[in-house]
């Protein structure tokens, strides 16, 4: 049994169409995914693709209009009381801006201690020891316990966010853009930390990011989202070295690599892409068709289904 199993998850928001009429709009549109114990899965998407909403729906924070999310076989949106508490212990989330989720008037020692006492994971006497151990795990000196959040750098704050999530010994960590606000030298440290902790504790990680290379480095499997739908899913290395969906190919060609020096001219990069995702999806055909360089008449009429192109590799495109 998978640790996390989501089928047909749909989240709808109230929106407006071009004439200003109210309309329900699917921010997440029938997404299915599984995460095994200890597995690291990446979700890639641009702003507005629904990746963050999906992450929240998977943790039961965002209500779903359709579909189900099972965590260890239990539907997370139906949990109550003790069972809900157990789920909250088992699945934790960290965010892009750890400052936003730390109380500015609480020292780090108190903030981490609070987590332990709320969930009755340590007696008051054990607390300082446990806090020290947690900080050590994320590579912070234990002299830091008396400091306030503003006294830390961005990278250190993200380590604190991770330490707080680890305090509950979660089986699943959902990390939403955990390094996009950090400098590259610090980013590498945090990504290594996530990988090491996942290996050492057999903790599953669901990494939500816009940076393909970051996901490629951390995750075994990847899902590419466009306008609320998964358009490609497979093993990260295979998908990134040989993307099948035109959108994934566009993303890959858009990422500038420091090794690019040799192939610098505009024409070689072949950027014909001019569009951006529209706020409202086209009602017929493929959502990516208006932006797709390979689109044919069929793509504007008929919705492509999400099918297996080769074992473990699924693509939502008529031509794959």
């Amino acid at each position: 049994m998978s640790l996390l199993e989501a089928t047909g998850v749909t989240v709808r928001y109230q929106g407006h169409d071009e004439q200003g009429r109210r309309q329900l709009w699917a921010a997440v549109d029938g997404v299915s995914l599984t995460v095994a114990e200890g597995e690291r899965v990446g979700i890639i998407g641009e702003s507005g693709s629904g990746k963050t909403t999906l992450g929240k729906a998977l943790l039961g924070i965002e209500p779903v209009a359709q579909g189900a999310v099972l965590f260890r076989g239990q539907n997370v949106h139906h949990l109550k009381g003790r069972a809900l508490e157990t789920f909250r212990l088992g699945a934790q989330m960290i965010f892009q801006d750890p400052m936003g989720s730390l109380n500015p008037r609480m020292t780090i020692g108190t903030a981490l201690g609070e987590v332990l006492s709320v969930h009755k994971l340590a007696s008051r006497a054990e607390q300082p020891e446990r806090v020290k151990a947690l900080l050590q795990q994320v590579g912070l000196d234990n002299g830091y316990t008396r400091r306030y959040p503003h006294e830390f750098s961005g990278g250190q704050r993200q380590r604190i966010g991770i330490a707080r999530a680890l305090a509950l010994n979660p089986a699943l960590l959902v990390a939403d853009e955990p390094v996009s606000a950090l400098d590259v030298s610090v980013q590498a440290q945090i990504l290594n930390l996530l990988r090491d902790l996942s290996e050492a504790r057999r903790m599953a990680v669901l990494l939500i990011a816009h940076d393909l290379a970051v996901v490629n480095y951390v995750c075994q499997r990847v899902l590419i989202m466009y306008q609320g739908q998964v358009v490609e899913e497979g093993m990260a290395q295979e998908v990134f070295s040989n993307p099948r969906h035109p959108y994934t190919r566009l993303l890959k060609s858009s990422v500038p690599d420091p090794d690019d020096v040799a192939r610098r001219s505009v024409s070689e990069l072949g950027q014909a892409d001019q569009g951006g995702p529209a706020t409202l999806k086209p009602t017929t055909g493929c959502a990516f068709a208006p932006r797709c360089g390979q689109a044919e008449a069929k793509c504007f009429v008929e919705k492509p289904d999400f099918h297996e192109a080769s074992p473990g590799w699924r693509v939502r495109c008529h031509f794959q």
Binding site: D257, P258, V261, R264
Partner: protein, 322 residues
């Protein structure tokens, strides 16, 4: 022989604070030639944005000291009277910044904001026609109607195009782009850079690109300056600096970038953090984080040395790095 449009020599910017003097930029030399794209890279706090702002004397702060020389199209920026400086800002030298929404007035129509720049610097008989031409130039669709829209009605990428239209309104000789696409999606980033390079060819202007992204440097710049803690550590043609890297800091940055095109077993971040500008280390500023640092590095700060034509490095041990 190339003609420099921008020359910066021994630029020093410092502030006073409770903790003492903050030496944010400490002796930067920089040249940008006509029509050339030059990148200034570094991590947060290295002084790259401050250097960019100083080019039009836009730096303010407690106890500011701004010394050295900055020449833009022959004019000595740091000694220029304010009135003359106003004529240069926006006309000879223009900026675009990371967050276009913060630079646009939310209650003015974008067309009026573009028109303001034109009226301020140029004599044009039909300003509206010029606004429409500029909007077309930067690829904003339906300029006749869209010029009447407000900034919030545009996406981030389209807002940045509006900023570029404003920056180009006076055909500047040099465009300073400070992290112009950091807030945008990668596909939109690629579109903006394609646009910038097309416009650069068309309008014959130089671009100084301030960024932390080495991938963007590789794809877009001809030469690069790598800054750390207020100083330039390595500079030269992009192929040299990114291909035959000499400085341990540049090497560290390159090793910390996750790659798509080649598998990386384990990335090596740079341990530690950028020193506080009020408490700079003795010797080389990078030595506390440098894996190759020796006794000499802790005592004496290395000078910038020329390795070969155009490739300079500030490291005692660059010969061992090569």
């Amino acid at each position: 022989m190339q003609n420099p449009i921008l020359t910066v020599a021994d630029l020093k910017i410092s502030f006073s604070s409770d903790e003492g003097t903050i030496r944010a930029v400490d002796g930067v030399d920089l040249v940008v030639n006509e029509n050339e794209t030059v990148a200034l890279v570094g991590e947060s706090g290295c002084g790259k944005s401050l250097t960019a702002l100083a080019l039009a004397r836009l730096v303010t702060g407690p106890g500011l000291s701004l010394t050295g020389t900055i020449r833009v199209a022959g004019e000595d920026i740091l000694t220029l009277p304010e009135a003359r400086l106003r004529a240069i800002r926006g006309a000879t030298l223009a900026y675009i910044f990371q967050d276009p929404a913060a630079s646009l007035n939310p209650v003015l129509r974008v067309g009026d904001q573009i028109a303001e720049v034109i009226r301020l610097h140029r004599q044009v008989p039909d300003v509206t026609a010029e606004v429409i031409r500029l909007m077309q130039l930067v690829g904003l669709p339906n300029p006749e109607s869209r010029r009447k829209a407000y900034p919030h009605e545009f996406s981030g990428g389209m807002q940045q195009r509006v900023m570029i239209a404003m920056a180009l309104a006076c055909q500047p000789r040099i465009l300073v782009a400070d992290e112009p696409t950091t807030a945008l999606d990668v596909t939109i980033q690629a579109q903006i850079f394609t646009l910038l390079s097309e416009l650069q060819l068309q309008l014959k202007m130089a671009v100084l690109l301030i960024t932390h992204n080495l991938g963007l440097v590789a794809r877009n710049a001809a030469r690069v300056y790598v800054m750390y803690s207020g100083r330039v550590m390595e500079s030269g043609p992009v192929q040299e600096v990114l291909g035959q890297t000499l400085h341990p800091y540049t090497k560290g940055l390159l090793a910390a970038v996750p790659r798509l095109n080649r598998p990386v077993e384990r990335m090596l971040g740079i341990e530690g953090a950028v020193p506080h500008p009020a408490h700079l280390p003795n010797g080389c500023r990078f030595h506390p984080r440098c894996p190759q640092a020796g006794k000499l590095c802790r005592q004496t700060e290395p000078l910038m040395e020329s390795v070969k034509e155009g490739h300079n490095v500030r490291c005692h041990y660059w010969k061992q790095q090569a």
